[in-house]
């Protein structure tokens, strides 16, 4: 099961009130109220768009993916029972769609696990140290987009989204050891990229 950074309750609302408000919102969406679905979109699109951009490596694909996620969510809202928070339900749905896309793309390029050559990563990542300043967010996003597909997916799930290696291995369908090696290679590669 994917845990991940959990949804945040609206300010001033406890979990019970927030859950009741979510169920009410979902009910309005099910009745076809566009304004309600827009409210749901505004609450969750940022986080899901970020996940898509980082997993897919480019904003244009992520934008298309975001549309598919929310259209699919609208169709599947009938099955939402409120057992999990709406944010968690949407996150899982988004993750499954993004991963389907990543897997089919990786199957074409053969890159779900074999993105980086060990010797190159070691040579690139273990040289001089990073400049002694905070890592710039934009530089990090850019470097992330340069990582090979599989390596990037494992790194995003582990270091950005906060999943354990066991969870990353479940989600990506790879061995736990492979998840570790992919994340570790990604960090070394990022060190090389961020030094440029």
């Amino acid at each position: 099961m994917v845990t991940s950074k959990g949804p945040v309750h609206p300010i001033g609302q406890g979990p019970g009130t927030a859950r009741a408000a979510e169920l009410q919102l979902v009910d309005r969406c099910r009745q076809g109220e566009l304004g309600a679905f827009e409210e749901l979109y505004r609450q969750h699109s940022g986080r899901l768009f970020s996940l898509a951009v980082r997993m897919l490596g480019n904003p244009a694909d992520a934008e298309d993916m975001l549309q598919e996620i929310f259209l699919s969510a609208h169709r599947k809202l009938e099955s939402f029972r409120g057992e999990a928070a709406l944010g968690t339900w949407l996150y899982r749905l988004a993750m499954n769609q993004i991963l389907d896309h990543v897997r089919s793309r990786a199957a074409r390029t053969g890159q779900l696990t074999d993105g980086l050559d060990d010797a190159t990563v070691l040579a690139d990542g273990m040289g001089h140290r990073l400049a002694d300043r905070a890592i710039d967010r934009i530089d990090l996003e850019r470097a992330l987009a340069e990582l090979p597909e599989g390596c990037r997916a494992a790194f995003v799930l582990h270091d950005v989204e906060g999943l354990e290696h066991r969870e990353v291995s479940d989600v990506l369908g790879i061995a736990e050891g492979t998840s570790k090696s992919q994340v570790h290679k990604a960090r070394l590669r990022l060190r090389g990229l961020l030094r440029r």
Binding site: Q31, G32, E33, L34, F37, E38, Y41, R42, S45, G46, R47, L48, F49, S50, V53, R54, E63, L66, Q67, F70, L71, H74, R75, L122, G125, M126, R129, L130, A134, I135, R137, L140, E141, L144, F155, V156, H158, D159, V160, G162, H165, K180, V183, H184, R187, L188, L190, R191, L194
Partner: protein, 251 residues
Amino acid sequence: MTCERYLNSIQESVDGTIGSIRRAELEMHLDECADCRALRDDLQRIHDAAASLPALEAPDRAWLQIAGRLRQEGRIREIAPAPGPRPNYVAWLAAAAAVILAVVTAMMLLVPQKAAPVQRAQTAPPAAGTGNTGGGNAPASQSVEAAQTEVDAAQQQFEKAIENLEKVAKANVEALDPGTSATIDKNLGIIDQAIADSRAATRAEPTNVAARETLFEALRHKVTLLQDTISLINEMRKGNNAAAAQLVNKS
């Protein structure tokens, strides 16, 4: 040179999964090896920076496209007309556009020298009705042709207002710095795309109230952005940087 035999321990230390014995061994090594210490610090910083990456903002057009597709798929419930005589929404929009035209005229007087002249006929308030005359109430049912005629008439009013605002803005654009000007152009591009999408949806279904509302909402956005642009130009010309900054922040 970093010691490769400690590489796994360094990574596991960053993961937070290293055992206590290996941790102690690693710490002893790090006390003596500056390269490995630098590597551990850098990987930790990369991990921490990744964990604190903020959420990105999805582009506005993504929502417009989602809403358009939901409508195409018939998944949106159209708002039923209120019982009794319904206010003539389109005629109200035409009246709103007329007010905008008057505002444009006033604003053009504020923008000195280079403002493009406006034809008198365009500044005169247009008729409030757009096919439905008298009292502003539409008939209970509308034919597709009548609905399309109403939408077209209201659109024309908006387009006149937009055209005039664009003339003024373009004639005075040099008052803005290139960065602000580029941002405004980018936003106008997004709004234009939204207008084109919702116009296509309205043409496909002229009686679709929600599609109309989206179209007029996008047109209103464009008018507002252009009005703000002209206000910004005025404030820049007057050297009123505080007011200009306020307008930029509002945008």
